[in-house]
């Protein structure tokens, strides 16, 4: 049984950072990932990473922008920590070798990004996430003696001790199908988001909310699950992302009449208002008939100088060319809001601890909360690194001086049985996994998207409940052991349904519009009643609702205008 002091599940930016930070503390570390680490979805983060590093910038300004961007739902102590730590973390990355863009003096150069009052986004062309993640992986290769990598191991469940603390996990080796019990004194979930429960989404196929569901089932609280970000510029149909960096470089949003419509909604910031504001603006234009026939508006990048496009927006040149047949240097590209990020997730404190002892969470899977009701562009990369590091350090400290964990083999047997049950279902005994998944995705995108109301949300919840029933008998084709993706898909479906249920319940419950949650039946923000987080806890009868306070340090909630 692989035994480590700290076990990190998920090897994107947060997971890799946590593993390196824990290893630096001198404890034994294992990192598990269901795909090869560099395939993690962090590589899709294009635009950049925020830090108040410039002389004339302050962490307070960054923090305020973040809190305002969150529509005041973010916990300000966590935001302060993140913004204060950002400059050092950025320099740390640069020292490791990240190839950040430079200005003429050879120093780190910035670009403008949404919701920011100063240009503080540091970047590598438009492949920032990929660049940082690959450099962290380089470090993992360098320190392979200190961090054991379990690449292509799928986690099926967490292991809890008798005292309810987390003592490890059960993972399936994808290559040969064997299931193993991993023991750990601390487990850090860094499994990312749940965008695949919506269709379309910018998210990769692997973003199925695994860690959120696993933590939920293990008794951890989830928080702010209704806060789902729709990114303003995604390709219609395919859902691919066009980075906010394009707007940072000066691109314009136009409706079908050629008007720069953001003037009506955010006269100051225009295209660089916060994402929820821009998405709602676009959706309104589309719904009121000023969009194109394919349900889109257009993003005009031709106003950016060609040299700059080639230098800093290369990726979207390729995306435009390969997936939309458009040369963005010559013509505008059609876009619309699309599912992109979950601000909500597993509730943690500022050290990444959940309410389950020994269980941590960091990155998109977690909800500290630094993003509150809406996340600013280029803050997610920051979030993963700051809280990845903090979790790694705290988990390592927890592990030191602690007796080795001894997860019971009964947990392994339970998981093996669960998998065997899926493998054993007869063909035609129920629906196919892909059918249920498709229905889930369409339901969520139809009713739990930019504009929501009680009727739609309740219908969505009913559908999700029905699909949960159907998922219990869904069947697969592949009974083999080697690289059986089919059985993993069935397990992931279960995770997505848990995530979707939590989101629906929370969205129904919050009778208010704040950040990414916009209720057409409750269009106003209501600080008196709703300046609080919605927490959910698993029970056999469905999610149990409770509330937690929003921590306010310096910034009293104000009206939010861009």
């Amino acid at each position: 049984m692989p035994d480590h002091d700290v076990l990190v599940i998920g090897a994107g930016l947060a997971g890799q950072r946590a593993a390196l930070a824990a290893a630096e503390q001198g404890v034994s570390v294992g990192i598990v990932s269901k795909v090869h680490p560099v395939r993690s979805h962090s590589n899709a983060a294009q635009g950049g990473i925020n830090a108040a590093l410039q002389e004339d910038d302050t962490w307070e300004s960054h923090a305020f922008d973040t809190i305002k961007g969150s529509d005041y739902l973010a916990d300000q102590d966590a935001v302060e920590i993140m913004c204060r730590a950002a400059p050092d973390e950025l320099l740390h990355l640069e020292h490791l070798g990240v190839t950040f863009h430079r200005n003429e003096e050879g120093k780190l150069g910035t670009r403008a990004f949404g919701g920011a009052s100063a240009a503080r986004t540091y970047y590598v062309a438009d492949i920032t996430g990929q660049a940082i993640m690959h450099v962290l992986y380089e470090q993992l290769m360098k320190f392979s003696e200190d961090v054991a990598r379990y690449e292509e191991y799928f986690t099926t469940g967490l292991a809890l001790g008798d005292d309810g603390s987390c003592v490890g996990a059960v993972c399936r080796n994808v290559r040969d199908g064997s299931m193993e019990l991993f023991g750990a004194k601390a487990v850090i979930l860094a499994t990312g988001g749940n965008g695949q429960a919506w269709h379309p989404t910018t998210n990769a196929l692997i973003c199925t909310g695994d860690g959120i569901a696993q933590a939920y089932r293990a008794g951890a609280k989830l928080m702010d699950m209704e806060m789902i970000q729709y990114h303003p510029t995604t390709l219609a149909g395919k859902g691919f992302l066009i980075t906010e960096g394009a707007r940072g470089e000066g691109a314009h949003l136009l409706n079908a009449n050629g008007e720069r419509f953001m003037e009506k909604y955010a006269p100051n910031k225009m295209e660089l208002a916060s994402r929820d504001v821009v998405s709602r603006a676009e959706q309104t234009e589309i719904q009121e008939g000023r969009g194109f026939e394919d349900g889109t508006v257009s993003l005009d990048i031709t106003v950016v100088p060609r040299k700059r496009i080639h230098e800093a927006l290369r990726e979207i040149v390729l995306v435009g060319r390969d997936f939309a047949g458009v040369d963005i240097t010559k013509e505008p590209i059609h876009i619309k809001p699309g599912n992109h990020y979950t601000m909500g997730g597993v509730k943690t404190d500022i050290e990444g601890r959940t309410n389950v002892p020994g269980l941590y969470a960091a990155g998109e899977v977690a909800c500290v909360s630094v993003h509150g009701g809406n996340r600013l562009g280029a803050n997610s990369l920051l979030d993963t690194l700051i809280f990845g590091r903090r979790s790694g350090v705290d988990a390592a400290n927890r592990a030191k001086g602690r007796e080795p964990a001894a997860p019971s083999r009964a947990v392994l047997r339970d998981e093996e049985r669960r998998v065997a049950d899926i493998l054993g279902r007869e063909k035609g005994s129920g629906r196919r996994v892909s059918e249920i998944r498709k229905e889930l995705g369409q339901t969520m995108d139809g009713k739990v998207a930019v504009f929501r109301d009680a009727e739609g949300l309740n219908e969505a919840l009913e559908t999700v409940k029905r699909l949960k029933e159907e998922a219990l008998t869904c069947y697969i084709d592949d009974r083999s052991a080697v690289f059986n993706q089919d059985v993993l898909g069935a397990i992931e479906l279960g995770y997505m349904l848990d995530n979707a249920e939590a989101t629906c319940v929370a969205a129904i419950h919050r009778t208010e519009s704040r950040g990414a949650q916009y209720r057409t039946d409750f269009p106003e923000r209501n600080d008196d009643e709703w300046l609080k987080h919605i927490d959910l806890r698993y029970s056999d009868d469905g999610p149990e609702i409770s509330y937690s306070e929003v921590t306010i340090t310096q910034w009293e909630p104000e009206e939010r205008r861009y």
Binding site: V35, G109, R175, G250, P305, K330, F483, N484
Partner: protein, 392 residues
């Protein structure tokens, strides 16, 4: 919606049979990708079809495959383009067999990547080939001493320059297509060498010369690349691995590294011969690649004697058949110069170009449009200033 047939090379290790072909009929919008087709086949027909995939947008690098014999990403190859290629080209099936499906439609052939062992269906073992070779080039920054208080100060062009290498998503398509690796499985390979350039070209790395020395001396290193451009064609991100290998060769030359593979000598010999004679003196090239002269005297380097001797039988055969009967061909150095004053002009071109050595990288520059491009006025203060829209 259109119909396509994907002919997939399958392999199920537990069945204890060898690889076999299976065809899947799919129905999709022709502007969707081969990956979308494979996923439809998986969803509808056979969930046991194994293919790595994640982002669907050519950024994660999971779905490297061979489509119609070409190494590429499945998510980036559109069905209609794959179909028309299959139709116009004689796509040789590996074990013979008909290319057309039962319905007479030409099939799109999908196979796992080459130069790697196959685990199942389209999933290959990248760890034992691709990743092992990546680790071979010490793929992490090796700075000197302690880091500065703030950032390292580096020329902005250098970061943009290595962004081309950094764009690599480790998909393995280049490794799959590499013809040198087919003949020499120990060749370090395009992906690893492109990664090596990322460090050699990074001013913050202090071991550039050592890296170059290592990769130049290794017989499976930079001089083992057969210069066939396959990796450039295969790479979905414009990394152009072969170009990075050539930059490594150039860098090695600048560091004065005399490799035991005669790579440096060959390059230098070729260049000098054209300066003197304008066209290639093959015999001189052969001699100088192994044993460059100093002031006209032969100075054999490591392995030179062996190299020259190995070439002797070929030379003799050439003389026998009459290919090389004239003096200029037989004797190095007797080759004629260009007529008239042409050679002088060539020499002057050399003087000018060797002075500048401009390296125009179209990846960074972009290609000029045919019409006049109206350059929009650059926004002031883009780097250190304020958000657009006038906000402060």
């Amino acid at each position: 919606m259109a119909e396509f047939t994907l002919k997939v090379r399958r392999f199920k290790p537990e069945d204890r049979q060898g690889p076999y072909w299976e065809s899947f009929d799919v129905e999709l919008d022709p502007t969707l990708s081969v990956l979308d087709g494979l996923l439809q086949a998986k969803d509808r027909d056979d969930g046991s079809l194994a293919v790595r995939c994640s982002c669907r947008a050519a950024i994660c690098g999971s779905c490297g495959v061979k489509i119609n014999g070409q190494s590429t990403l499945a998510c980036k190859t559109m069905l209609e383009e794959a179909q028309s290629y299959a139709e116009s080209h004689a796509v040789a099936a590996q074990e013979g067999g008909d290319k057309t499906a039962g319905n007479g439609r030409t099939e799109i052939v999908v196979e796992p990547m080459g130069n790697m062992p196959v685990i199942k269906d389209l999933v290959t073992d990248m760890e034992s080939t691709h990743w092992k070779k990546i680790r071979r080039v010490t793929p992490w920054l090796l700075p000197e001493g302690d880091p500065p208080e703030r950032e390292y100060i580096v020329p902005p062009e250098s970061m943009i320059d290595i962004t081309q290498s950094m764009a690599c998503i480790q998909c393995g398509a280049c490794v799959s297509s590499c013809l040198s690796m087919e003949a020499d499985p120990d060749f370090i390979g395009p992906a690893a060498l492109a990664k090596a350039y990322r460090f050699v070209g990074d001013p913050r790395d202090a071991e550039g010369k050592e890296r170059l020395h290592d990769l130049a001396q290794d017989p499976h290193g930079i001089y083992d690349c057969t210069h066939c451009f396959s990796c450039i064609d295969a790479c979905p991100k414009g990394v152009a691995p072969m170009d990075q290998i050539m930059r490594l060769r150039r860098a090695a030359e600048h560091e004065g590294i005399q490799d035991q593979n005669h790579g440096h000598n060959h390059m230098e010999a070729f260049t000098k011969i054209i300066e003197k004679k304008g066209t290639l003196d093959e015999a001189q090239l052969l001699q100088d690649s192994y044993a460059p002269g100093i002031k006209g005297k032969l100075v054999p380097k490591h392995g030179a004697i062996k190299g020259l001797l190995e070439s002797l039988p070929t030379a003799i055969r050439g003389i026998k058949t009459g290919k090389m009967r004239s003096l200029p061909k037989l004797i190095p150095g007797v080759h004629a110069k260009l007529p008239g004053d042409a050679q002088d002009h060539v020499k002057r071109i050399y003087a000018h170009a060797e002075d500048h050595e401009i390296e125009l990288n179209l990846y960074i520059r972009g290609e000029e449009a045919d019409e006049q491009v109206e350059e929009a006025v650059a926004r002031p203060g883009a780097d250190e200033g304020l958000a657009p829209g006038g906000g402060s």
